[in-house]
Structures are given as C-alpha cells and as structure tokens.
C-alpha cells in the first residue's frame, strides 16, 4: 500500500489469540496488509493497539488517522475460550429446578469422553468428569416444573427462590444463573424467579447480574442450555471489561464507528449485543468465512475449507453458499446450546508425531504433536520423535534454509537419523520410504476427515471444490485430495492471513430461535395445515420483531436487513431435525405449508437418499428460527492482469531432489512471490514462500489465476 493511504477507506479485523494479536487491514480495492504484536492478556487493549500500529505503520499514517477513517472494526477473541480452559472466570451461583442439582456433576455421561480420540473413547479407564464451573455448594434447587407441553404442572415455589437467592448472595457469588426445565418452551417460571432474585439482590444492596437460560440459550436440552448460561455468567464480565477497555482506547483515537465481535456462528455483531458464550468458538471460523467469500467470488456454491497448522487439521463446509451450523457443539469438553459454525478438527499437522506401534509393528502418525516447543526433530530444539515436518524435509519438499523465510534452519541429518532409528529400521524400510510412509498416512487421515465430514452428512464430495490454507496444508494438499473426486482444488497464497481475511468478509448477523410444540399428523387435512401455519406465523412474527429491533439498535435500516425464516423439521418421532430455510415468510395458504414441507423433504432426500423418506410418520416442528443479516461493506479482491503461462526467470530457484512416485527426482523450485497471475507451474515442482511450501506432483500442475489463487490441476 502506498503513501496516499490517508484518503482511502479501510476495514480492519483484529484477532487476539493466546500468543499473538493479528490485525488485517484491507482497503476498498481489496488490497490488504497484516500487522502482528504479542497478545497482552492482562490488558487486551495494549496488544490490540500495538497490532494496529504495526499494520498502519506500513501505510505511513498514524493510528488515529487510520481509526477515524475506519468504517468497521471487527474483533475476534479467544478470551472466553481461554477463561474456560484456564478456569479463570467469575463465580456464578446456580438456581435450578429442584431435583436437578447434580446436573453439572453428572454431565449427561457424555462429557466424560467427548473430544477424546477414538482409542481413548474405547478405553474407559481414561474417562474423566470435568470440574464443574459451579461447585455443588453454589447450586440450589427450587421446586417448579413445566412439562413437555409447556404446562406449569408444578407451580413455582416462590419462597424457595427467595431462600436460594439469599443463600447465594451470602456465599458471595459474582452472578446468579437461573435454569429451569422446559423454560425455552414456557418461560414464566424463569422470568418470575429472575424478578424475585433481583428483589432479593436489591434488598441486600447488591448489584449482581442475573442470567436466565431462556435469554442466553432458548433451546431444548437442559445440560446444553445450562452450560451455555453458566459460561455466559462465568465469562461475560471478563469480555465486557476487555471490550470496554478497547472501546475507550478507540474513542481516544477518534474511532466513531461500530466495534463488531466475531461470533462462533460466523457472523459479526455489535460488541454490546453479543453474548460472550457465542464467541467461544470464533477462532477458526474466519477461514470458513473466507471460503464462503472465495466461493462467491468464483461462483462456486460448495466449498470445503482445510486449514492445516502445526498441530491440527481443521475442515469446514460451505454448502449452497451457507456454512453448516452445529446446534449442539462441544467446546472445552462441554456440550453447548449455542450455534457454532461446524468445523471438524483432528490432530494432524507439521508437528504430528510418527512412531511404530509396539504390538502390531504398524506405523502410526498422530494424534500427538511435538508442538512448537520442542517441535520437530529438525528444529534442533530438543525434539526427539520424528514428525510430519521431519518427513517432509527428508522427502525434499522443505528447504532447510528457507523454512519460515529462513528464520528456522532445519537440521535434515538429524531428522533423517530419527526416522531411520525409530521408523525405518524397525519395519525394514529405507529412510525415504519411511518418510513417504509418514506422509501417506497423514495424507490419508486428512483425506478421511474431509471425506467423512461430507459423506457423514449425506452430501456428495463431487459437488465440492476444496480450498487449502494454513502453513502445513500446501505440502500435503496434493496427497490428501488425490483420490477425492473434487470439482477443483484451490490453494490460497499468504495462508497465514487467510483466517483474518475471511473474518473481514463476514456478514453482520444474528441468529434467533424459539421452541414450540408442533406435531403434524400424517397426511394432515387442509384446516390442520392452516391452523399449524398460523401458529408458525405468530412465532416467526415475534422473532422478526425482535430481530428488527436489535438490528435497528445496531444502526441498520430495515431495507439493509435480510431475513431468513427457518423451521427445524423432522419426521414424526425422529429426534434429529433438519434446519429448513422456509421458501415463504408466512404460511398464508395450504400451498405455502406444502412448500415448507417439500423444502424439508428435498433437503432430507439430499442428505439421506429418497429411500429414507417416511412421510407416513407425519412431521414434527419443535423449533423455529430466524437469521437476520445486515448489509455490510466487505473487502474485494480485484483481478490482476494475466502474464504469460511461463513463469519469469526470477521465479525459478533451481532444482533439488524430491520424492515422487517411489523415487527421488530432480524437482524445479519456484519462489511464490515472484510468480505472476497467468503462470502455470508444471509438476514435479515445489513453490516456496516464507509462510508455506506448495508441492506439485508429476503429472499435475498449478495454475495461478487473476486473483493469485493457485489451482492444483
């Protein structure tokens, strides 16, 4: 970016991670720069501004001038997740339906093994309960019950609520959470209990926040709902504090626009309107958003995103332009009732450790990782077990003198020695064969994860293109896509920045849901359809009002808001529903009703094959929803003029031997930064960059298009 930057408009996205705070600045032409500064957990604002400063310094303008021109400042933070993992949140007390005081200790059994690897899920002796965020002594039951029809079958024993509130206040809790069974269907008890607790707080002269489960997570399943509400109480004050600190500093610099937080579901929303628990998994969604943006750019509706780093391989899906939402995600081993963009993660990356299983003599790769410290053997920093990066080095894919731009000099001899001793000799292979084995196995695991994510949702992989980013992805993308019938394979350069870029492309979005109780008999009569449609309309109308009110508060005019009406539909007595985007905003005729059901059955067919249909069971709708999207300015990628197919001489860095098709062969080396749009790089080739290395096998080639996307053909 040049010195005339002062007159331009910018969008900025800041991502505060555990180690670094990254900033991504993009101008209205889509050109971008990246800033980086160490995170400052004690005072988030400091790292935040240092990161912005490091970016804008390259623009030659002051942070103040830059911030005053900013239209939108997006912010992603792992603060909530970190607070959960390190157990450093506030201490709420919990008032729950009497008889369910043990809920957080019992964990539905499932939380004792969730997020475990397959072997440990089988190996029961390893299963563990978590320490609950609310200890049992701060959980009080009160008598009340709503039944599954929404009827108050046991009234709220108000005196018990008051007693519980007084006891918790006396114990010095930081907040009070109220979670009753079926409150998402009938909230009268929770709301009344909330009012009583506030009365008791006022009487005690205390000003503590009160969280109702129906406000935080109005969805079925008491554990997921209570977990979400407890996490909100546990972390919201921390997030609020951090945001206020940032906003104060922003204000000092003249920032007058909206600070928006990235939510786990993949949308941005004004910081003051975002629930803390809804940011808990926001870290990896940027890449997915970026995938959707790239899809829109190329007119590709179905995209698989793969992000390979040092320890994990994350796979996400964009289907028909939408990201998949997991409505019952697991985070920090807790099942949550909040929407989270679905991303599957396995332990596979550059640092993944390889070894021989003592029982079977088979080569196993992962899921354990050598991490950044000590890292792979070739880092020469104390690592002793061979890793995927060591194998890549032994195979000639990595340049020992140009890893991370030469910042880490790789010790190839040490890597080879470790592979020889620990892998090759025990199973009777040469070092190179063993290294190739490590690569094949890790590639197969990555491939299986991709295939599984698509196939296990009943989708067809041949409908998808794949986008690879993350430093450890490009060396393996040819391997893990080799036998997948994908429509195309794209690699995004400057992989490290892709997540931040993606986050900057996110929409301003809110998700709303409401439970109801709709059992639709098989082959319902017209009157029944209209009656049910009316019920649906009432709920949708309420959600619409709620959404418009909130979006208006956030500064959106009605004409800049898009609404998607959702119904979660299933066949009678099924327990999984599908999220159906309704083709109609209201059900006014039986035709509208039929259109909604047809949309469900079409989606069902696509997922599970037509033979799995079962309309004879009738239908059930126990939840409806609404997604409100506010129009927001996004960065653009501008096409660049195409040069010739032949890369210029400056891009060529000579050759070195690399392993393909069972042998080491001379392989052309290119410098990514010197390649131009329009260039074609024939395999075998290796394209190097300070952030990653692209491996192009024989008989394949890479084409660089006008957006500088690399297509592996």
């Amino acid at each position: 970016m040049d010195e005339s930057a002062t007159e331009r408009q910018f969008f900025c996205y800041i991502d505060t991670g555990g180690t670094f705070t990254d900033s991504f600045v993009v101008d209205e032409n889509g050109r971008y720069i990246i800033g980086k500064a160490p995170s400052t957990p004690g005072n988030i604002a400091e790292g935040f501004f240092n990161s912005i400063e490091s970016a804008v310094a390259r623009l030659g303008i002051s942070p103040g001038s830059f911030l005053s021109q900013l239209r939108i400042l997006g912010y992603g933070t792992t603060l909530v997740l970190n607070a959960l993992l390190t157990r450093t949140g506030k201490q709420p007390g919990l008032i729950i339906t009497r008889g369910f005081e043990g809920l957080l200790l019992m964990e539905r059994a499932k939380q004792t093994w969730t997020e475990y690897e397959r072997i440990d899920r089988m190996h029961v002796v390893t299963h563990r309960h978590l320490d609950p965020l609310v200890p049992r002594g701060l959980i009080h039951g009160v008598t009340e019950r709503i039944d599954c029809l929404g009827q108050p079958i046991i009234p709220l024993y108000e005196h018990e609520v008051r007693e519980a509130a007084r006891a918790l206040i006396a114990k010095g809790v930081d907040a009070i959470v109220i979670s009753f069974l079926w409150s998402f269907l009938q909230d009268a008890h929770e709301r009344r209990a909330g009012a009583l607790v506030r009365e008791e707080l006022a009487a005690a002269g205390k000003d503590l926040p009160v969280y109702l489960s129906v406000d935080v997570s109005p969805v079925m399943r008491e554990l997921s709902r209570t977990n979400a509400t407890v996490i909100e109480a546990y972390t919201a004050p921390l997030l609020k504090n951090a945001i206020e600190g940032v906003q104060r500093r922003l204000g000092e610099f003249g920032f007058r626009s909206s600070l928006q937080l990235m939510q786990s579901s993949g949308g941005l929303a004004s910081a003051e309107h975002v629930k803390a628990v809804e940011t808990v998994q926001s870290g990896p969604v940027g890449g997915l958003m970026g995938g959707r943006f790239i899809g829109e750019l190329y007119g590709i509706p179905n995209i698989i995103t793969t992000d390979a780093g040092g320890t994990s391989f994350d796979v996400g899906l964009v289907t028909s332009g939408s990201i998949n939402i997991n409505r019952e995600p697991v985070c920090a081993r807790m099942i949550l009732g909040v929407p989270v963009a679905e991303i599957i993660s396995i332990g596979a990356g550059g640092g993944t450790i390889a070894g021989i299983d003592q029982l079977t003599g088979r080569l196993e790769v992962g899921p354990a990782s050598a991490g950044a410290v000590p890292g792979p053997v070739c880092y020469d920093a104390g690592g002793t077990q061979p890793t995927v990066t060591d194998a890549d080095l032994a195979l000639g894919y990595l340049n020992p003198d140009y890893f991370i731009g030469g910042r880490i000099r790789l010790n190839k001899a040490k890597a080879e020695e470790a592979i020889r001793k620990q892998i090759a000799e025990p199973i009777g292979l040469s070092v190179v064969e063993a290294a190739a084995g490590i690569k094949r196995i890790i590639d197969a695991k990555m491939r299986n994860t991709i295939y599984g994510l698509v196939a296990a949702r009943g989708l067809e992989i041949s409908d998808y293109s794949l986008l690879s980013f993350g430093g450890a992805g490009p060396p393996h993308v040819a391997g893990y896509t080799a036998d997948l019938p994908l429509r195309g394979v794209m690699m995004f350069p400057y992989s490290a920045a892709f997540s931040a870029f993606g986050a900057a492309t996110a929409d301003h979005e809110h998700h709303y849901t409401k439970a109801l109780n709709m059992v639709v008999p098989p082959f319902a009569a017209d009157e029944k359809k209209l009656e049910l449609g009316e019920q649906l309309n009432r709920v949708w109308a309420n959600l619409e009002q709620q959404a418009l009110r909130q979006m208006e508060l956030e500064g959106f005019d009605t004409d800049r808001i898009t609404l998607r009406f959702l119904a979660m539909v299933r066949y009678g007595r099924q327990l999984n529903d599908l999220v159906v985007t309704s083709p109609v905003r209201r059900v006014a005729t039986t035709g509208d009703w039929d259109a909604l059901i047809s949309a469900f059955e079409k989606l069902y067919d696509d997922r599970y094959a037509r033979a799995a249909r079962y309309p004879e069971a009738g239908f059930e709708i126990f939840e409806v929803g609404l997604i409100a999207t506010g129009e927001k300015v996004k960065p653009k990628l501008e096409p660049r003029p195409l040069a010739g197919r032949e890369p210029r001489a400056a891009a060529r860095k000579g050759t070195r031997p690399a392993y393909f098709d069972g042998q080491m062969m001379p392989t052309a080396i290119y410098e990514l930064g010197a390649l131009e749009p329009g260039n074609v790089v024939p395999g075998p080739a290796i394209v190097e960059d300070p952030t990653t290395t692209f491996v192009v096998p024989p008989a394949r080639h890479v084409e660089i298009d006008q957006y500088f996307t690399l297509w592996l053909k």
Partner: protein, 715 residues
C-alpha cells in the same frame, strides 16, 4: 454347497487346527504403509455410516445413547473393522452372516446386489430382539467380496410388555416380533408389505421402520466406499488384505496380553438373579499363558430357565468381547481377530448358551456378568504386572423402566427410559470410579437429557441425580449410580414396569479390600396425594434423601407404596403415580479407611456421600457445618476400626471349616441351595473342584443333606 459356505468351513478349520486365520501377512510385509492406508479408509467408511444412521434414526436409544454400530465383514462373515458405538455387535453381525451362509442362503434364498437382510433373532445374531441387524452383500466384478452391516437398538418390538425387553417373558414367544434373516429389501427397495406387517404389530412402528432406513443408508455408504476402494486397490489386494487385518489382530492380541498381563490363572464369580427366587452363577477362570495366550473358561454357569435372563451364545460373546475391547484391546483393530485369538469356553446348555431357541433372552445380566468377572480377573493380572492405572474394579448390570399405552400427545407408544448409560463404574486403581457415566455395552456412555425423554414418555421428573454412597466404599470408591424419581403425567392409559432384574445381592464386587457397589431397586407409590401436595405448595420428594431406610417418596407421599427389587412386569399406572429407580454402581478398590480424608470431604460437599457414612465407613472426623477434617481424630477413628476388625476376625482355616460344616448340614437358603444343586449337576468339572476344595463326599448335593424346611425362601 455354496462357495461361501465352503469358505466359512475352511476358515473354521484353519482356526481350529492351526490357531491362525491366515498363515502369513504377505501384503502387510510387502508394503506396510499401503496396508495401513487402506485400513484407515475402511475404518472411516464405517464411522461415516454410523454418523449418517444416527441422524436418520428415530430411536431415542440411538440418538440419545448412541446405541448404533456399523461394521465391514469379509465374504465369509468375519469382522474387518467396526465403528465406535455399540461394540458388543462386533461378532453378532458376523454370526448372522455365517448363519445365512451355513443355512444355504446362497443357493436356496439367493444373495444379490441390492439385497438387505434383517435379523433380530438373538440366537442367530444380536443380543436380544430389540437389537436389529441389517446386512447387505458387497459385490465387485460379479463376486461377493464382503458385507456391510449395521445394528441399532429399537426400543419396541411388539412384545407382551412395551419397550422390547419384557421382564415377565418366560419364553421367547413373549418377546414380540422376531424376524430371522429376512430379506427386507431387494434392488434397493424396501418391501412395502413387510412394513405393513411391522406397522401393525408393534406399538411404535416409526422407530423400527425409520431405523431400518437408517441402517440401509449406512450399509449403502459402506458398500459404495468399499467398491471404490476395490477399484482403486484391486480386487485381489482387497480380498487378501481384508483377511490379513484379522490375522494381524490375532497376533497383536497375544502380544498385548503378553506385554501387560502377569501370566497365571485368575478366578472370579458374579451372581446375578431373577426376581427373589433364583440366582444365576457366572464364574470365570482366566488363564494368561507365558506366550500371551488368553483363555477364558466359563465352566460352572447356571442352567437356562423360564425367565427373561437367558442369553444366547452370540449375545454372550458380544458382551464379553465388548468388555475385552474396552479394557485390553482398545488400541487394537476392532475386528474378529481378538475373539479368535482367545480360547473362549461358554458351555452349551447353560444360561449363556441355551440348548434351544425356546428361552427368553431379553435381559442381558448374565452376559454382562461375564464382562464383570473379566474385569475382576483382568484387573488383578494388570496389577500383578504393575499396570495399576489399568485396574477397573467390577462394574454393573444396568436396569431401566419400560412403559407403553397412549402418550401425552394421544399417540400409541411403547418405549423405555433406559438411562442405562448412567451407572457408576468400578473404581480405578489410582482414582475413584466415574459417577453416573457408564454402561458396559457402550463405552461412549450418554444418558440423554431429561427433556428429550420427557418428550418421548408421559413422565415428569421430580429428581435426577447421583445416588449417594451407591458406589462401593474403598480407598478409591466405586462410581455412584443415578437415582431417578418421576411421576406419570398427561395420560391415564399407560402401563409401566422395570427390566434388569437382580436379587438384593451384589454383582459388582469390590477388589483389594473394598466394598461392592450397591444393589439396584425401585419404589413405586400409586394413588398418591402428589397433586394435592403440589396445590398446597408442600415439599415434594426429589431423591431418596438422607434416610435411605425411610425414602422421601414414602415419607412425603400418601399412597400405595411398594419396594421392588429385581425386575417387575408392567402394571397399569395413572397420573401422579410416582416411580423411583436406582441404577447400577461400581465396586471399590482398596480399604476404605485408607481413603484420603480430603476426598471424603469433597464427596460430602458434592452430596454424593452422606454425612452418616463418613465416620462409620471411612473413619473420618468431619465437621458437619464447616466440612473441616480433623486429622488427629481421624487417625484415632481409623485405629479403632482396625482394632474392631481384629476382634471380629477369625483365622481363615477356622472360617473354611465353619463354612464346610454349613455345607455338610445343608445350612443354606433355598436360592443358594438351588444354585449349587444346579451347577453341581450340569458341570462335572465345577462339581469336582467344588467337592475337592470343601472336602465333600462324592455326589454331594446341598439339597440331599438339607432340611427342606430351612427358612429363607428368598435371600
């Protein structure tokens, strides 16, 4: 004879005569990497199938509890790989396929591409009639190269009681619809007439029929993936390696046993029961050879009987192998190799291998007891070798409630609230057992949310928590089981019962000086004044409470109260009838007076140990208000407990002599007499050892020497 039948016979011969499945691992040795890569792809095909099936399934048992598993089998029906989930079916689908082949389905029924065969006959494959299996053949280049299969547990079978596990069944003919290896779909089309038949014979046909679709969808996914892989790797390669994976597992099984278990002979016994009047004896002698050869001999099992607790051979093998995978072979390939590597003797004519198909098989307690005794023996073999962290004290048989009738939406229904994944585990050798988070038959325990169950059943929970002190006391205590208390709501046309029967005796023994886990029981109070109490805002029962001998359900409610142990048949219930149920809990590890007092304090704070237990059992002095531990007083209390034990104790020789006298005089309760009469009659081996150990006369039977008037009709 069909070609595949010949292959089945040949494999059996090889296993019997040469103790191997394949003579060599040629392809593994040729290219060990490719061998692994293909296997990971096969494993993923079954994992993906399970995920899809769980989404299509309607059954709450599948969705809430993960009772669903998919597998890939060789042409002759041996398991190559299994998904996670209901692992006890690793071999039951294998049995089903082999049964079809051995019964000439190739020639007499026909096996074609696009066929799907259904089975819920537990004598053929599966464990009980709600376990429903579907398999489909995989053809490549015109040749049947394997089978894809899936199992789900469907909680309604049209049996004499709702829910599929009728406690009152006395023969299999009370257990509802049983379809033995029936082709339910051909050319990919489900047979409509068969669906009509099902839909008019079970109480909740949607579950059965949607689960069929789920399994077909999953099987199809596996089949299509295997066909792609065969095209990629070649038919010869696939056919050979699919067998080598099994041989590879056989070899790994021995290596594992040799490396982690101390060689020797280990024995354990579990007692299960039927109602109050019959005990079932489940003994195990486990031998670990110096070469790692594992043998498990169940000689001494009781006879089958006219009750619901007989288990078929496939069921027993399945449950036993499920336990074996969880505790020994968890890091191996999940296939038939582990079973073939072990020498397993489950004598024919016993409760775990009945002589004919007459016997009812709904309740799995005897086969689960085979897993329990396995844990007992295995833990000691691990311990002896120094692998204390692998110790897992005996766990539990699970129980559940079943009901049916007209639900809160006015629909016909039959189902059960299994909550059965909410047992406590046995204690570990280095820490406590898990509370409310285990079931032997599915390592991925999930009890589901109460809101989901309330949507399915016409009940409203008053309490769902951890039953204090139900886990066996110990240095590390056993995991506590769940206690659930609910009332019937929004229907007056329902019946409710309980399956999973045990006598008031302990199945989950403690080890190394610890106590056993608690027995399970239920209370029911009918014609209650609950509605009036609610209207008056009076205290309601939510748990058993601080006084287990006077539970809240009895103290706080007026009505017809009944305490039940073991199973009971469904009975009519109406609104505001109240039901209380406990589930199993695990045995402890080590002496309770060696327990860290801070762990006791923590348990009291979590309300999972009663204050009244602290001093009496653990010898811990705890301030009931501040929960502070007084270490000095604790030391004194523990010393006093030791002294008291020394006073009570007698030398082992004296004890054995006393017990011998009881045997000789027939001083046994009737159920114990019946138990020993039975096994001494049916197992000469057991009888010989028993009489030798106790120095009893030839032909000794307790009933021959008993005064038949001995009291104690029940224990």
């Amino acid at each position: 004879m069909g070609k595949l039948k010949e292959a089945v016979i040949a494999k059996e011969k090889s296993l019997k005569e040469r103790s191997c499945y394949e003579d060599a691992l040629l392809f593994k040795e040729q290219d060990p990497i490719q061998f692994e890569v293909l296997y990971t792809k096969l494993v993923h095909s079954v994992l993906n199938a399970r995920e899809v099936a769980a989404l299509v399934s309607a059954s709450p048992v599948v969705r809430e509890m993960g009772e669903c598993v998919f597998g890939l089998y060789t042409a002759e029906g041996d398991a190559i790989c299994l998904s996670v989930g209901l692992m006890l079916h690793i071999h039951t689908m294998s049995r089903m396929i082999k049964w079809m082949l051995m019964n000439d389905y190739e020639e007499k029924v026909g096996i074609r591409e696009g066929d799907y065969f259904f089975n819920n006959d537990p004598y053929i494959g599966g464990t009980h009639s709600p376990d429903q299996l579907i398999v489909t053949p995989i053809f490549c280049e015109g040749e049947l190269v394997g089978w894809a299969g899936g199992v789900t547990h469907v909680p309604e079978t049209g049996a004499v009681e709702p829910g599929g596990l009728p406690a009152s069944a006395t023969s299999r003919f009370h257990e509802g619809l049983i379809l033995p290896c029936v082709r339910i779909a051909e050319n990919e089309e489900i047979k409509k007439d068969l669906e009509v038949f099902v839909s008019r014979n079970v109480r909740t046909p949607e579950w059965w029929l949607l689960d069929n679709r789920a399994k077909i969808a999953g099987c199809r996914m596996i089949r299509d993936e295997v066909k792609k892989l065969v095209a990629e790797y070649g038919l010869d390669y696939y056919a050979a390696t699919s067998h080598e994976y099994i041989e590879d597992t056989m070899r790994a099984t021995k290596t594992k046993a040799k490396s982690v278990l101390f060689p020797g002979r280990y024995r354990a016994v579990a007692i299960s029961g039927v109602g109050r009047r019959l005990l079932i004896h489940v003994p195990l002698e486990m031998t670990v050879g110096r070469d790692g050869q594992l043998s498990c001999d169940f000689e001494g099992l009781s006879s089958p009987g006219a009750h619901a607790q007989n288990n078929t051979l496939p069921a027993t093998e399945g449950v036993f192998m499920c336990a074996a995978i969880q505790h020994l072979f968890y890091d191996s390939r999940y296939n038939s190799g582990s079973l073939y590597a072990m020498k397993l003797n489950i004598p024919e004519g016993t409760v775990c291998n009945p002589p004919n198909i007459f016997y009812a098989t709904g309740l799995l307690s005897p086969s689960i007891a085979t897993g329990i005794v396995w844990n007992d023996c295995l833990s000691r073999a691990y311990y002896a070798k120094g692998y204390r962290e692998e110790v897992f004290a005996p766990n539990v048989v699970t129980v559940g409630m079943h009901c049916g009738g007209i639900d809160q939406y006015g629909r016909m229904f039959g189902a059960f609230n299994m909550e059965a994944s909410s047992c406590g585990t046995g204690a570990r050798g280095v820490l406590d057992g898990l509370d409310t988070a285990y079931a032997l038959w599915n390592p991925e325990a999930d009890m589901g949310d109460a809101e989901v169950w309330e949507q399915i059943l016409p009940i409203v929970w008053l309490g769902r928590g951890i039953q204090p002190d139900s886990g066996g006391f110990g240095k590390f205590r056993g995991g506590n089981g769940i206690e659930s208390l609910y009332f019937v709501a929004n229907t007056n046309q329902a019946e409710m019962g309980s399956f999973g029967g045990r006598l008031p005796i302990f199945t989950s023994a403690g080890i190394m000086g610890a106590y056993p886990g608690s027995r399970t029981y239920r209370n029911i109070v009918q014609d209650t004044d609950l509605k009036a109490r609610i209207a008056d805002r009076l205290p309601l029962p939510h748990y058993e409470g601080e006084m287990p001998d006077k539970p809240e359900i009895v103290r706080l409610l007026n009505g017809k109260a009944e305490l039940m142990v073991g199973r009971y048949a469904a009975r009519p219930v109406k609104e505001y009838d109240v039901y209380y149920q406990t589930n199993g809990s695990g045995g402890g590890f080590g002496d309770p007076i060696e327990r860290d007092p801070q762990l006791v304090r923590q348990d009291v704070a979590n309300k999972v140990t009663l204050l009244s237990t602290v001093e009496r059992v653990y010898g811990v002095a705890l301030d009931s208000t501040t929960l502070e531990v007084d270490l000095e007083k604790t030391g004194a209390l523990r010393a006093a407990i030791r002294q008291s034990r020394l006073k009570r104790g007698i030398p082992a020789k004296q004890y054995i002599a006393q017990e011998r006298e009881r045997l000789l005089s027939g001083d046994l309760t009737k159920v114990a007499r019946d138990l020993y009469d039975d096994i001494l009659k049916i197992s000469p081996k057991f009888a010989g050892e028993f009489r030798e150990f106790w120095d009893l006369p030839e032909g000794y039977l307790p009933s021959d020497v008993s005064d038949q008037k001995t009291p104690g009709g029940s224990v």
